[in-house]
Subunit: 269 residues, 2 copies
């Protein structure tokens, strides 16, 4: 029996999603509490759609876990949801728990991940400062938005990724939109089939370099031709980034998508 969990968290006090011995992580915290409230002999293994780094937030993280088969999957899911709601610390919340459809894999069935990066070149609102990064120079949002369009499509993002042996850095960038929100900050939406490590924050850092006039679009286009990480890209701070949503195909395509993603990608989503 597989359950799907929809999860939000404030990344500030977590060492990222992925469990690490002796460190407080979102995965570790959730696995500990799920084991306790379900009185399991061992902690269950949670698999997520986007392994966020230390300090990165989520409003739409998705994960799955497997439990012994039970004919009353709906009740088990409802009970787990109710108990987690009472038990979890206030910086992580499980918004929904439900039986996963056949073939669902939180990581490999996903067809896209959508992140939003928030930054400001003005006074930071004290009440929003934990999710908005400060940029010293004035950002030309229209220029940034024009530059962003050059990165769309199926590309090799090696310049924006931390290298991992045997892992591809080819990704399909589906959406890259920068707008100045009515409340002031610049919101940069980045949606792709998947991301490699630190890719969103590197993309935003490169775009900010163009939007503030430090670099031009030729430099940006040239980055796409490199096959190693570009050291001159400023990786933006983690606290401006939120994993907002994960997209899945229709239920009858979940298994096929998972098989396809497993075969073409060995890197972390």
């Amino acid at each position: 029996m597989r359950l799907r969990l929809d999860i939000s968290y404030d990344g500030q006090d977590f060492h990222g999603w992925a469990g690490q011995p002796g460190l407080r992580t979102v995965q570790g915290e959730l696995e500990t509490w799920i084991q306790r409230v379900l009185r399991l002999a061992e902690a269950p293994a949670l698999v997520c759609a986007g392994r966020t780094d230390a300090g990165v937030h989520a409003r739409g993280q998705v994960a799955h876990l497997d439990l012994p088969d039970d004919s009353q999957a709906d009740q088990v899911a409802a009970e787990l949801h109710r108990r987690l709601r009472l038990a979890l610390p206030e910086d992580v919340a499980v918004n929904a728990v439900r039986p996963a459809p056949d073939g669902f894999d939180a990581r490999f069935s996903a067809v896209w991940r959508r992140y939003v990066y928030r930054l400001t070149d003005d006074v930071v609102d004290p009440l929003a400062r934990r999710t908005i990064a400060r940029v010293r120079d004035r950002v030309d949002v229209e220029e940034l938005q024009r530059a962003a369009q050059l990165l769309l499509g199926l590309q090799n993002f090696a310049a924006f990724c931390r290298h991992r042996e045997g892992a591809t850095t080819i990704r399909q960038l589906l959406e890259l939109e920068a707008v100045r929100a009515p409340s002031g900050p610049v919101e940069i939406t980045v949606r792709a089939d998947a991301f490699c490590h630190s890719m969103v924050r590197s993309l935003v850092g490169a775009l900010v370099a163009v939007g503030t006039g430090q670099r031009d679009t030729d430099w940006l286009v040239e980055l796409l031709r490199r096959r190693v990480r570009a050291g001159e890209i400023n990786v933006m701070p983690a606290h401006g980034l939120v994993l907002e949503e994960v997209g899945y195909p229709a239920d009858d395509q979940l298994a096929q998508r998972a098989a396809q993603a497993r075969s073409t990608r060995t890197m972390e989503a």
Copy 2:
């Protein structure tokens, strides 16, 4: 020369607005930094529109301070703004500094203060938890909104105020609106000519008691007839409250309004 400052802060790490020896307060922090960046012999005295309690936030606080006369008031204001932007800690921000019009008094010229209280009876969004209070029971927002209308107008709010010798507790409640925001939390807007100590949080506490079915509207109406604080009202937690905006009359009515407010009210706004 009088300057007007528009101020935002995250109240979490402040012991409220009002300066207190040995405690970190918004007034104390601002006066210290204004003295430093302007190299004044003494700290200036800041007068604000709403003396918020410990833990209460502000997005639209207004204050004034007096400096020695200077023919270049605009430049002094711009320079103070620029330097404060660089100097202030990240939980307080000065959004604007400008020469105050004749007769302006941040406290006594104000014609209304608008606060918003945010609460939820559902899972608290981890990314918004510092500004949203949790209520255990389900809140009937329509019932709460109906009850709120009974409190409008010129009334004696003694039941909702901490008693202060010689101070009136008569206030004009101009607006009291409860809506469930699209993102989930219930937002209660409270606007009045002025508020006495803990009045907004007591009003919301009484309304929540009605909205969750613990009390009825007869009780609420009866509270308005009391002349002492009602011990049974649950004062809501500070972190759900934000001073959003302060209203002032047209420039030619500032002095008249200040004289009127001074004469009819001896209590803190």
